[in-house]
Symmetry: C2
Subunit: 134 residues, 2 copies
């Protein structure tokens, strides 16, 4: 499995990673997090991201999971998009990270991994009364 880097404003990325690891400790080596300070220099953060990606790319590819499209985390991540190497998926939630546990043994590309996370994330967002009725 390729590694996942959660990238958000504030400590959200760290809390998402911590929650995922509490539930699935086996994800430890495959799940990283980078928090953008609310007040930051974009160039400093881009350089920090570049270094993390360089390290993670030794494993063949990486998926960056950001908080939201149009946000600073996505804007910093998008220039690193590279077909077959670096993919970005937006709107990260906890169920997407939980999905990783079932992807661990599969040999998916960054795009396939991102698509699996997208599907898991979209399916995880449910209105309880509607879901329980059907």
């Amino acid at each position: 499995m390729i590694p996942i880097l959660v990238l958000t404003h504030g400590s959200l990325a760290l809390e998402l990673r911590e929650a995922a690891l509490k539930i699935s400790p086996e994800l430890e080596g495959d799940l990283e997090a980078m928090a953008l300070p609310w007040e930051h220099e974009a160039d400093d953060e881009k350089e920090k991201l570049r270094k993390i990606l360089k390290r993670l790319l030794r494993r063949g590819g990486v998926v960056i999971a950001t908080d939201m499209f149009g946000g600073t985390a996505s804007n910093i991540a998008l220039p690193f998009l590279e077909e077959g190497k670096v993919e970005v998926v937006t709107g990260i939630n906890l169920p997407m990270l939980m999905k990783l546990a079932s992807l661990r043994k599969k040999d998916l590309s960054p795009l396939e991994t991102a698509e699996a996370l997208q599907k898991a994330g979209q399916n995880s967002i449910r209105v309880a009364s509607t879901f329980l009725r059907n």
Copy 2:
């Protein structure tokens, strides 16, 4: 607008609320968060939730936004489901809370609010390379 209560394991709920308020400070009075400690007594947390809901229901209704279906937060919230009063939406992410800003002036029911959050959340989860290509 009815209030939203973000309910998750760990500090995720607090970080989601903090991030949303950094971006949309006007949500302050409409957005609450409750964090379940990783080690907790379910009865204590249910009682805490019951008290928060009692207070929020003075405003006519509430939507509880949880981290994931099948998780402890959802399991504690679901017994409080009440048609027209209390709705639960799972898989909370930051874009769902951002959506609240546009719902503030609307007079939506708990179910309508939950459905609007669901739609916003699902639409926010995108694979960047696919989205940018189309």
